[in-house]
Symmetry: C2
Subunit: 341 residues, 2 copies
Amino acid sequence: MKTTTLKDIAKEAGFSITTVSKALSQNEHLDVSKKTKEKVQHIARKLHYTPNQLAINLKNSRTYTIGVILPTVVHCFFARVLNRIIEKAEKNGYLVIALQSNEKSSAEKKMVNLLLDKKVDGILISLSNETKDFTHLKKILSKKIPLVLFDKIEPSIDCSKVSVNDKQAAYEAVSFLISKGHKKIAHFRGDLNPKVSKDRFEGYKKALIDHGILYDPSLIYVSNTNSDYEDGYSFTQKLLAEHPDVDAIFTVTDLIAIGAINFLQKHSIKIPEDIAVFGFSNWTTSSMICPALSTVEQPSAMMGEVAVKILLEEIRMQKEQKAYNIREIILPAKLIIRQSC
Amino acid sequence: MKTTTLKDIAKEAGFSITTVSKALSQNEHLDVSKKTKEKVQHIARKLHYTPNQLAINLKNSRTYTIGVILPTVVHCFFARVLNRIIEKAEKNGYLVIALQSNEKSSAEKKMVNLLLDKKVDGILISLSNETKDFTHLKKILSKKIPLVLFDKIEPSIDCSKVSVNDKQAAYEAVSFLISKGHKKIAHFRGDLNPKVSKDRFEGYKKALIDHGILYDPSLIYVSNTNSDYEDGYSFTQKLLAEHPDVDAIFTVTDLIAIGAINFLQKHSIKIPEDIAVFGFSNWTTSSMICPALSTVEQPSAMMGEVAVKILLEEIRMQKEQKAYNIREIILPAKLIIRQSC
DNA sequence: TTGTAAGCGTTATCAT
DNA sequence: ATGATAACGCTTACAA
């Protein structure tokens, strides 16, 4: 069964396509007599008319679609962000095309092109760890497509950004450990590139220094594989061998922390009495293991919400040909203290 | 800077739009002289021409976009499925619009309409628990849009389906518990509606019967809130009060099992010596808690992969006006035995 | 109040 | 080998 178009309605109603279009338009001040309007609308309903979005898209050069590129959806944090992005976008009449870079810069670039081809109205990106060249982002901007970076952002790019104050959160977490009497605090950090990893590391260092504890580089272990959990486990083993007197571990992610906890438990080392553990991210898992992991709660949903909100505003401004200022939002994270410290 | 169109190239090259279109087309046997072709392609590159997909979409009535509706992305299983769907779709030139029903039937219906309006080429749905009326699915089919249901499927709908053999997996899990000597096995099940919950329950029952154990309805606890974890915890408490001699618990999801484990641990009940626990779904968490949870691994990625594969095939057939047969794939699940039993 | 015609950017058909 | 024209379905000046 062929889908009905304005033409079909026009034929049936005995009006021109134009009049039918007007009669069906939301636009109130489009002179059509009440009678015609009703007749047309009635026929439209009878024939199950739905406007062909493709045609409207072409006409308006808008798709009411936004694209999202994130490292992966199989990750609590990103899943929560995406969840809120989809919800909020839909509530505002936008659909979301989701894409995953899997931390590959090349994939990210390709996906930007796909979205540009698709003529999405705006793009949201959480950069891959690997991304060091930003021409693809500049390309988006040069086409005047609104772009908002979130979580993994790049300061040098001239677009709105939403991120979490990782450094501050790490600072607070380590300060908390210190306030509990811990003095020799190891840090299991992530690779150098992602800004978040660097920020958390710096927060750690600053907390030590501010509290008069000497920063000891040998207490730092860098995870650059993708197996956080295993790294947490093996780093702890190594750490205990190298620093038997360590009394706390602060990790860059919960997963690493959980690996650490499992090693400690397997070797009957008491948490937090012998060694305290502090994670970062508040994975679902973290509240369910025992001892439950103290960690930093990142405002994931909030991040998604703010990112779409800004993007949609920019899309609107853009459409109305108005200039808009880019915004850089830094959301606060908060400590969640459980039993592991 | 205005985006370049065929018109711009035509003007610059001194050819008609038609010729330019032909010169740029993939279609080889479209008589254009080698010289013109090269000239046109050169100019196209110079002007950074990219075809306007919107126009092509309108022309072809295709969008190379598929829609996915699932209960939520914030769930290991669905995130993994979605992950693979996105990947596989993209590899085949399709983009994915993701939508979440949050287990609301009304939302699901609305989203189907959104996707239909957007003229997606095909739709993938994992039904919400609440969905009992299927007119929205029939609407999709009546428009000849390929539809594939996965995981939460509805047998009565005439479309392809991909699901997991939940009943068989539950049967094997419970049989395993029995083989380990457990005789009084409780079951924490989910609500009645989702087919998966029913299937797992039936597998449980069948295993008991087949092994000569009397099915005792008082050992069944039904979780119909959305707080699986808490239910697992409180059900265990209740269970121990009502059946102090219970020796194993089989749960409909890992989350419930983890709730149970935490209660048992808090009350120093040994796992699996006093009570064994068997979950279902293999959440990431399950391997990280202690004792690590024995569970059923569902082939999530495989499910996503198979679902898109079938959908894309049907889209192709549909486009070529060929008839196709619907397929019903049932994927096997496998037991993962860890320390909790 | 209603209708004609042009246009969005592309491609297919049919001349030339 | 190249090009004019129509068509996809809709919107919107501009006429009538």
